[in-house]
Symmetry: C2
Subunit: 354 residues, 2 copies
């Protein structure tokens, strides 16, 4: 049984799930896919043992602004974190991964095995998730930084891709990390069959990650080491000295130790209202109705009322999301453009809406 | 200068303007067409003098459930009612008209000239309204019950029609009252050019109205006379004995003294969200935006946020009305079907939504 230390990153704001997702209560802290919040589902997925993996209590790396929902989520899931650190300022995922590695070493020693996961992804079933972790563990133990790869199911232009190289253990070496493609490239990638989506899930030994970070982005490592106190508080000034940089760019695109493990589970980043609707079961009319909804002669739509009753007659292929203070509606295939609404709100100094 | 006693009926619930219009605060008590509520606009239209008419302080006949918004509206408009009576139970317009006539007689004597108007219509401009009242006054003084007729502008199937007879004064005798027609009949009526819409606005001498009501529906008159106390309180048991019947059926369709006066003003009953949108000026994209709205690439739509921000991208020809606790959306040409939502809410025991 391999002991794995989960480290859960609570970072992104989930702006494209506005008006539900807000700065003070972003996407992972809403019950979008089940009766539990995505954060709670994530916590519960990374606990217990099975399929050759035993999860230790999680580490949490989160933004300072969301400490309250994080602590509530832990309590609600009945999980005690091994450690929770709150970044006074966001510096993207490379410093967050370094924090996770340092915290894991405190708990488990230098060669602690860290599973770095996002707090806001949809993953199922949990057995297949554990299987994938177990398959990746020998590679990580052997000094690889393993990224989980999702087999593409459509020519998606919104994700980075990983081109696989030669087989290594149950996975593959990484031939290349590839940026978000245009539509033609995305179609070619899908056709070629040798790419994975980069889901931002990593398994590595803490010492491996820190060594590679020290090699390629020493400023990040130095800042994080200086900022992390013995009490796990983060010194704001020291932390702010870290470059803001994703782990992919800081380490994964440069290291010679990258490997990719094909995911055996279903995955969605639940990035937009339409992808969320796609991830849920529709009724006979093709509707996904969530919360308090009365819909007559309505088809192909996602309607969600959060403390508000949403009612509709005769609409099709719409996304409608209503909260106490804001309503958003758009055709289903344009729901991702919600960021333009947020930009307009900022222009109008409507910070209350963000 | 003819002295006219306005009597304002606050009855209908305005269900088709849900979710804004509610049982506890129906349509006339919302600012739908101007900065003031429709009730306040109605009060202000029926005050002062001009065009040969002098309005006395109004009489109010309203349902018990809306006493609070009525009193607030009077205060807000700065108008003291000559008398305000509140019906413990709704019995349609014939008993309400009788109450108005009895109250007018208390104030002005037996032959008081009563202008019976609804509290929830859009009428403009006020000068043309007064002109029409002045033109009708000699007929009413002469013992006619004058109904104001609106010249049809479309083959409307939602209103009753009045066929005009021989000219009488500046108006016409009534050849017939005609029920809401089907589409073919409505088109024929429009073509014929001899019909008016029945707008439910009446001018009459109090004694004329009471005599005709006593002739054709004595039970109504008896119940109302028994119910109305010296202090203008209405005895619930006595009032409940009145048949529930509209003035049109109780008197107008039967009396030999009906006349119709063509209205010189613009009129709308603001019955539905789409008729409301039609009554307001649209922007260059054909949108009518009311309250707090952010709309991008949106056309031909009515969007209203009441204490809620409504945001939309890329929608067309929709009605969207949002309040703190409910949102309604429908294609503009189906917005009148909102009553089906209310029926569904009743089925679900959701009285909080009514």
């Amino acid at each position: 049984m391999i002991k794995v230390r989960p480290a859960i990153l609570c970072g992104g704001s989930g702006e494209r799930l506005w008006p539900l997702s807000r700065q003070s209560k972003p996407k992972p802290f809403h019950a979008l896919l089940s009766e539990r919040t995505i954060f709670e589902d994530t916590l519960l997925r990374c606990r217990g043992a099975g399929e050759g993996v035993s999860f230790a209590d999680p580490l949490i790396v989160a933004g300072e602004a969301i400490e309250t929902p994080v602590r509530r989520g832990l309590a609600s899931a009945g999980i005690g974190a091994a450690a929770a650190v709150f970044e006074p300022v966001g510096r993207n995922t490379a410093p967050a991964a370094a924090l996770a590695a340092l915290l894991a070493q405190k708990a488990d020693g230098s060669e602690a095995l860290v599973l770095l996961v996002s707090s806001d992804h949809h993953i199922a079933p949990v057995e297949k998730f554990r299987e994938t972790v177990a398959a990746a563990a020998p590679l990580a133990t052997d000094g690889k930084i393993v990224v989980f790869g999702i087999l593409p199911t459509r020519p998606e232009t919104g994700y980075g891709y990983i081109r696989k190289g030669a087989p290594v253990g149950e996975g593959f070496a990484v031939a290349a990390f590839e940026e978000k493609p245009d539509a033609a490239k995305a179609a070619a990638y899908l056709e070629a069959g040798d790419r994975f989506w980069n889901a931002g899930i990593f398994l590595f030994r803490a010492d491996t990650l820190l060594a590679e970070l020290g090699r390629y982005e020493p400023e990040v490592l130095n800042a994080v080491q200086a900022a992390l106190g013995a009490d796990n508080r983060i010194d704001a000034d020291a932390f702010a000295l870290s470059p803001s940089i994703p782990l992919d760019i800081a380490v994964m695109e440069r290291t010679k130790h990258a490997a990719v493990m094909p995911a055996r589970f279903h995955w969605s980043d639940v990035g937009t209202w339409s992808s969320l609707a796609d991830a849920l079961d529709a009724d006979a009319q093709g509707n996904v109705l969530s919360g308090d909804v009365i819909a007559l002669e309505t088809a192909g739509s996602y309607l969600r009322g959060e403390d508000v009753t949403v009612t509709a007659i005769g609409v099709e292929n719409l996304v409608v999301v209503a909260t106490r203070d804001a309503v958003f509606l758009a055709p289903r295939d344009r729901a991702h453009e919600v960021k333009r609404i947020l930009a307009a709100a900022k222009d109008r100094k409507r910070d209350d809406l963000l």
